[in-house]
Symmetry: none
Subunit: 415 residues, 2 copies
């Protein structure tokens, strides 16, 4: 191997939901074919391109399952639900075997009916409310760990022996109903026990929260009190091999959302928080770019980057925002291209087409830049050009193997 291989870094930059479908209003072009993306196009021209199925062809990946796959873990094994990743993402030090849930702070009336699932979209005081819930240190010997997230969102972790994630949601999803009694899905003793702990916890939360000073103040201001918690999306924290032991790469994760940070956390990456990173189209891309440059200058071998705004624009069906955001992200790509001694992979975790307003199962474009890549004839970074690239069609689960090989970190299978 040439000297240029020594100490090469690897960067995977994932522009969440960036890929799309042809749009009538763009005369059959996609947003990526329309937006101004000189830096992405430069990557295409000087790199090797292809299309990538995050899981496999036609499968609609979530951001979580796609990232898990791209990092080389099997999502069908590691992905137990959104709870564990959200909990890790907001900062709970989860452990394999913990049962994690997403929660809402909600409002119930005196008859026990949910009148507001989001407790007036409460924004302040949730840390105090969470602390109050944490005063219940255990139920039936099960440790209760509760942490507020953004707005009315929170996470709950149950830690102890004899627990299971095979339990139903307490959140009935629609207002006008009482909290649903949590029941075991598989009739196991562990699931029965977990359901029992949750049912106790939900009503204990009501007793603790209903007259909490934060809520008394809200009532005074005619705001819905956050007087109960409603857990959903149970998942057992997976026992995933740390990224560094799997690949021998010291790694950092620069992501905006709790979900992606949580994935980084669960595989024991260092999580880099960025001021002003909102996960929306209003995020502070300059701070993100600066953070990438700074982190790349540190002794990390590998960076996982996720920028989320294009996905938000896709879910909203907002073409103008998506075009605009992609062009802004292109400038971040331009900054990253200044980093030396790096293999840079640019891709999306899935399509969030404007026409679908949700994730679809289409393959996404992917380009690799760096020394020694077999440069192909593709000179634009988009869904259609990428189909003519030298990588042909690969899967998310191929990416780390390809990168490890390019970085000369792989070992030979055989002689």
């Amino acid at each position: 191997m040439g000297d240029n291989m020594i100490g090469m870094k690897g960067i995977i930059m994932i522009v969440d939901g960036m890929a799309d479908r042809p749009l009538k209003e763009l005369e059959g072009k996609t947003p990526l074919e329309t937006a101004q993306t000189p830096n992405m196009d430069r990557m295409a021209k000087t790199g090797i391109n292809g299309i990538m199925d995050p899981i496999k062809p036609g499968i609609r990946a979530g951001s979580d399952t796609s990232h898990i796959s791209i990092l080389g873990y099997d999502p069908y094994e590691v992905y137990t639900g959104r709870g564990p990743f959200e909990a890790a993402g907001v900062g709970v030090e989860v452990k394999p075997g913990d049962i994690a849930f997403r929660c809402n702070f909600s409002t119930i009336d005196e008859k026990g009916i949910i009148i507001d699932r989001r407790a007036g979209r409460i924004r302040e005081g949730t840390k105090k409310l969470a602390n109050a819930i944490n005063s219940i240190s255990s139920i039936n010997g099960v440790e209760i760990i509760f942490m507020e997230s953004t707005g009315h969102r929170a996470v709950l972790v149950l830690r102890g022996e004899g627990l299971s994630d095979k339990v139903t949601d307490a959140d009935p999803k629609y207002e006008g109903n009482p909290p649903k009694e949590v029941v075991a899905l598989d009739g196991s003793k562990e699931a029965e026990n977990t359901a029992n702990v949750l049912n106790q916890l939900i009503w204990k939360s009501y007793n603790i929260l209903k007259e909490h000073p934060v809520n008394l103040l809200r009532i005074e201001k005619d705001l819905n009190p956050a007087n109960i918690i409603l857990p959903r999306g149970a998942g057992a924290v997976p026992d995933a091999e740390p990224f560094e032991s799997k690949y021998g790469l010291k790694s950092a994760c620069i992501a905006e959302t709790g979900l992606i940070k949580g994935i980084g956390k669960i595989v024991a990456m260092d999580i880099i928080d960025v001021d002003g990173a909102t996960g929306g189209v209003d995020t502070n891309l300059e701070n993100i770019a600066n953070s990438i440059i700074e982190t790349a200058a540190m002794d990390y071998d590998f960076l996982l980057i996720n920028i989320d705004g294009a996905d938000e624009a896709g879910h909203d069906g907002n073409l103008k925002e998506k075009l605009n955001f992609i062009s802004k992200v292109d400038k971040v790509v331009g900054r990253i291209l200044e980093i030396n001694n790096t293999y840079l992979i640019l891709t999306a975790d899935h399509s969030t087409p404007i026409s679908a307003m949700d994730h679809t199962g289409d393959p996404v474009p992917l380009v690799i830049n760096g020394p020694d890549v077999l440069v192909d004839r593709v000179d634009k970074f988009n869904e259609r050009s990428a189909t003519l690239g030298g990588l042909c069609r690969i899967r998310g689960s191929d990416i780390m193997n390809i990168l490890m090989d390019l970085m000369n970190r792989s070992s030979k299978f055989g002689a």
Copy 2:
């Protein structure tokens, strides 16, 4: 999802054995590159193209294993042999666990030697002969279900406890031999029992058939009597999930051969019979086209179509017939393109090259038409052009996932 996604139908049209290899007599072109196919080419031009390996690259698929794979079932699990599919295809209501066989009506002489494996290619009276065999209602407590198929062909189903498909064929494949004694392949009690039932049945069939009026008449006319049945190709009827419960699609199968109808039947599709569909190059394509149009107008969400003649021409090494038949099928494609609100997939189940006169393991061209597909630059439907398409190279097992995603019938894996 846009309104254009609501209630979209999916059609997979499989032109059996249509794909081929370059031919010297066509100056290195394939039959598909040579035949007049304006409608298929229109599909290529307005669709997304690619090449497809029915099972995986280089594997020579049968029509049965390819269709099983294309429908999203694992042929290594579901395909237990041809018997079950043939039996289902001719109309036996098979049940999971039944052991099914293909049979020939054959002719043995008085010394018990097979003098004609096909009983003078008998065409008439086989229904009566089959009824006579069904008068043996059971042997060793095993139910005997026998049904005539086309010509000298028939199917046999054994139903009961303690049976196995691990038994040898009774058909010795060459005339001048006695029927082979059926033996257990794995020494299990179930296989021993099954072999015993079959050995009894074969000689009972001789006793029943040898002086049956149908045969007495044949002897009088100097035709070989159909005086024994020779089972082969044992297979246990698989417990395949019904297509409708797997995908939520109400589906119909328009096919010519018992084998493909049997596949449709085993996954509980509605089977649409077409008058004049012979499975050969002489089939009535107009009736098939009319039937497709009529069925598509009904409340089905999904149609599987198989047209068989190009495969026959390939097996016969008859280039002229293959070219001619492909051009005629092209007109059926033209008719199907008139159906609105449809994703239409056109492909072959395997190559049956003129030069090979049998199936080969080459990938086959595939094109998808419908709203929102990423139209590529391919403008001809053939083996070579398809390699430049936007789908790159996919597998049979990807097709339903891709179609379900396009039809907006998929759910997201993850968040």
